[in-house]
Symmetry: D2
Subunit: 344 residues, 4 copies
């Protein structure tokens, strides 16, 4: 990694400097554990305010896979499964964490990482019309990612469509916001935190990929929706003893709008890179409006590129081309972007 430009992913550095500063400042504080301290309470209030949802239950967890496993297990009964895009993080990259707690991930074919409310509705209709539906896992939840694993976004209109299906079938809608800052910071985006709190039964505001050392903030607008979440968290080994550390970090993110700044910053960097790529004639595999860029590189050119830049191999495009992913984040500097553009 030495000397290379780091665009491989959005979790290579530590935390945003002002978050680290707060970590230092509060280090010798003495508080009770498990997130029952006053700093974590402040963070909860700040998140509630950001979501305009004063009654929401807010809990802080450590990482994304963990958060998905906890929340899906908390909502589902043992006979239920969760509907997701076949490209969803829970479908592929969680090493079976959802199945390990007994729940099937019911996959629907994606289009650029997204599924549609219509697809879900059709699945549910067909399911309940099937004579042997009771022999099949009962669909008990919808899982979406915003932005998706392919960097694409759901519009508010689209999310309201999912809400309608959820209401019709009385199942919860859950949104994985691992990279939510980069959706919020995206000019194309029309979905606010408040919208998410209106449209979802639960969602999480990603911290790990958006400026924190670690941490994801779960928001459950109706605090009665899932009883005993604390114990479920503990059972999943997801309860941080020094829970305050999550509070300190999220309080900093939402005290003065740092979360939005981070998103905007990464998006500006991404925009500059995308424009440079377009100018230089590169094509994109996926039309991602957020901080992940999926561009097609000639295999020969990629060799030299790889010596200067850390990137992620995405997939083979054809015999002479490769799709790579570049990601910007809260810590991407103007100098890094300049240097990357020079390499192109």
């Amino acid at each position: 990694m030495k000397g290379k430009l780091g665009f491989a992913c959005d979790y290579m550095k530590g935390a945003h400097p002002s978050v680290m500063e707060k970590m230092m400042e509060t280090n010798m504080m003495e508080t009770i554990g498990y997130g029952r301290d006053e700093v974590t309470e402040e963070a909860r209030d700040l998140v509630r305010k950001a979501c305009d949802c004063p009654k929401a239950l807010v809990e802080f967890l450590i990482g994304g896979t963990q958060t998905n496993a906890v929340m899906i297990d908390a909502f589902l009964r043992s006979y239920q499964g969760v509907i997701a895009a076949d490209t969803g993080h829970i479908s592929i990259h969680e090493a079976g964490a959802i199945e390990a707690s007994g729940h099937k991930v019911i996959t629907l074919p994606h289009s650029e990482g997204k599924i549609t409310a219509r697809q879900v509705k059709e699945y549910l209709e067909n399911y309940y019309n099937d004579d042997s539906y009771e022999h099949m896992v009962i669909p008990g939840m919808i899982y979406l990612s915003q932005p998706t694993e392919y960097g694409t976004l759901y519009s508010l209109e689209e999310l309201k469509g999912f809400r309608q299906v959820c209401d019709e079938y009385d199942i919860p809608l859950y949104i994985d916001g691992a990279r939510l800052a980069y959706a919020l910071g995206c000019p194309d985006n029309d979905v606010t935190l408040k919208d998410l709190a209106c449209v979802c039964d639960a969602f999480y505001i990603g911290g790990t990929k958006c400026g924190l050392l670690f941490g994801e903030a779960v928001v459950i607008p109706d605090p009665e929706a899932i009883p005993h979440l604390f114990t479920t968290i503990k059972q999943h080994g997801a309860l941080l003893a020094k829970g305050r550390l999550l509070g300190v970090q999220f309080a900093e993110l939402f005290r003065n709008g740092l979360y939005y700044e981070i998103g905007k910053h990464a998006m500006e960097a991404a925009e500059r890179i995308k424009n440079a790529l377009k100018e230089k004639g590169y094509r994109f595999k996926i039309d991602s409006p957020t901080n992940q860029i999926f561009c097609i590189m000639d295999n020969e050119a990629l060799k030299g590129f790889g010596e200067r830049v850390e990137y992620t191999f995405w997939e083979k495009y054809d015999d002479t081309h490769t799709v790579i992913r570049l990601a910007t984040d809260w810590g991407t500097t103007d100098e890094e972007v300049d240097a990357l553009i020079d390499v192109l």
Copy 2:
């Protein structure tokens, strides 16, 4: 908590100042994720050296319940359970995390938090002599804590006794070292890290309660003992994206002996408190040689005491007395100890 002396537990503050310093220093480093970076590799090597076990598999996890759940699941087959003291952390205070991954905790009655090799041997003999043993969960592992949840210690002799039973029945021995620094720092202790590496199939070196923000270092002397541990960790939602953070912290603990210093420091504080208690005529419920002190307080006196000191209620002793727990740690200052002694 404001203005009170904090002796309620050993995880009220953040991290040891030199750990925090390293966190700051390395914050803007760019490394790959999931603990595959060079800092984490260095930490692995330092832990291997501290255990005099150059081939050991070393992985870093976030918290104790999580570590126990991952390791027990990694060692056991679905038809197996784990033998533990009825006071073991996994038996009571992990919200069913072990059962959630399908394994029964088979409990044996404790004596001051400990069980004996003889008890386990008798259990195993009776089990295999029972005509219907195949209808019962197969005991597949022994779980001990060092120090125990009651602050007591196993001697090397005792651990060798467990090893013998394990060899006879071909089952692994696993030791939970959530507070291991306070065993290592205890004058009564005769079990070193090297001894643990000789006697155990796996154990963990606790960081959360011993100077870190969070983190536990799992040591598996025979690296072939449990294949695919990385995937098991991921499946349990226990894989830290910025895995480096664990490496940075544990490297600091073991680079220059900080872990031992922490243990010694907390033990000196505990000794001073215990001596003062004895002098003032207090009795102890449990004869704990480590950093947890279980003393019996008159209920009337406790009221005043509680206004000045944060302690943990342990249990009712009789109608007029209560057992409380006081804990020292890496961050307990001489001034705090003085002040506490004044209050007594």
Copy 3:
């Protein structure tokens, strides 16, 4: 087994002759599968009538361990465990079936196989008074056996006591009736099927040990208590394709009171044996009023006895004595009882 008198257990023979007759009669019927046929519906109605509980949900399962695993999983949420006597079938002899579906069995010490409502109440009080109760499995159900694994019985008074605790803590009461016929047929018993339907959230009427080839009838007085039980049954691999076979058998048990006859018959045999044992000076380990007899035998005498009689070793009594179990059932003949008494 050839030539020996079979008193080892109550599942050595096939089915009661009139049950077998019905199996033959209906063998070439064609019906739809999975218990949705008319014979099974008839059986459901007969069970409902026997319980005086016309709205009950009635499902037929194959065996006892399976039924317990299905029902406990159906009632509990993932963060809950089930309270049972430490001698309960689910605590010991189900090979971890309950834990395999993620639930802890919380054991209380038994007295002759029974626990008391007071014990449970105390457990619950202590649980909710414990500062760290949220770190512990939430008690979500009470499991009792009627008769117990030690042949003892709960009185109606006692069961009402459990009901009161259940109501106070809003948790369900579930009763395992694997040998229920032998409770119903016992002169000391004052609990009817109707009483069970009043006092329980669910119970099962055992068939396997009470005259059937196999089969247990689950009764859930409030049909809304556990939604999607059919799918839970299927998920547990407990759904019989030719579900009619269960219906045929249970219809026969409850069409003309055969279930009660079976219980009475076995109890008369057991009474004769117990009286003979008493007369001959034998002592009993457990004062069991039902079809299981736990008597203390001299080890020397036991050798000769064992050549003539199949019995079950229960436990060592002292260096020269052994506790054995003898069981009568629906198929025990007068001749067998006579012969057994001769051997004593």
Copy 4:
């Protein structure tokens, strides 16, 4: 169902008359439970002989979903999943039984119910070439059905191809033979029981759909492959107390070749029906060589047909046509076939 011709499935009647006769004959035998009796031992030997595999471990279970759940759980470690066709019984129609024991079903797209060794090999190659493969469920087993859920067959050549992939990747091959009699009885089939014992790590010989009241015989050629299967069976609630009932039935199936007769009988009936359908110009949706027939019916004609014949709706074909499934079995009579052909 009264008065209709029953071609809806192959589990509408009870058991083959000679099986029922044996059930009656042995009803009053007294044997020990759980399949440890002499009749079950005889059945094991007969199955071993039929498979020409004298050392095989043979266990008898009750139903197909149960058998799949037990066997997959027995073979897999917690971090592993099972590869199957997306039409596989475990993928769809087992209500999440595989996931309930913690394992993901990794689906590959089928062609007429089948997958190819090449598909699996490609999946495995891609998996291990993926940089983040350790974040994904480890493929630990291949599941096939013979015949498939679509009635199609794997050839010996094809199965050897799977074997090769399994050897290369050191993963077991498991075959679900719920309808195996109808493969063995099919003129197109070239795979014998002996072949299955050579090519598989485990497979089961279906009884429920092939002449028994219930029962599936699991064959594991290498008896060391999965230790403690008995306890795994018990843990899954799949252990029949009166295990002898399975032994009695399977002994009858394999004592004098009844299993082959049953297959042949059903295939002759199916052939007659298929020929009649062809003659009358019906088209088939799937080219199934076994006892399931998938033919395309005009919706208008189907109304009348449905008044006379019990069939299974398979899927909509187009706006005016429907695919239906007809199944023959051991109990289909010549008269029923004649009558069905008359209706066409």
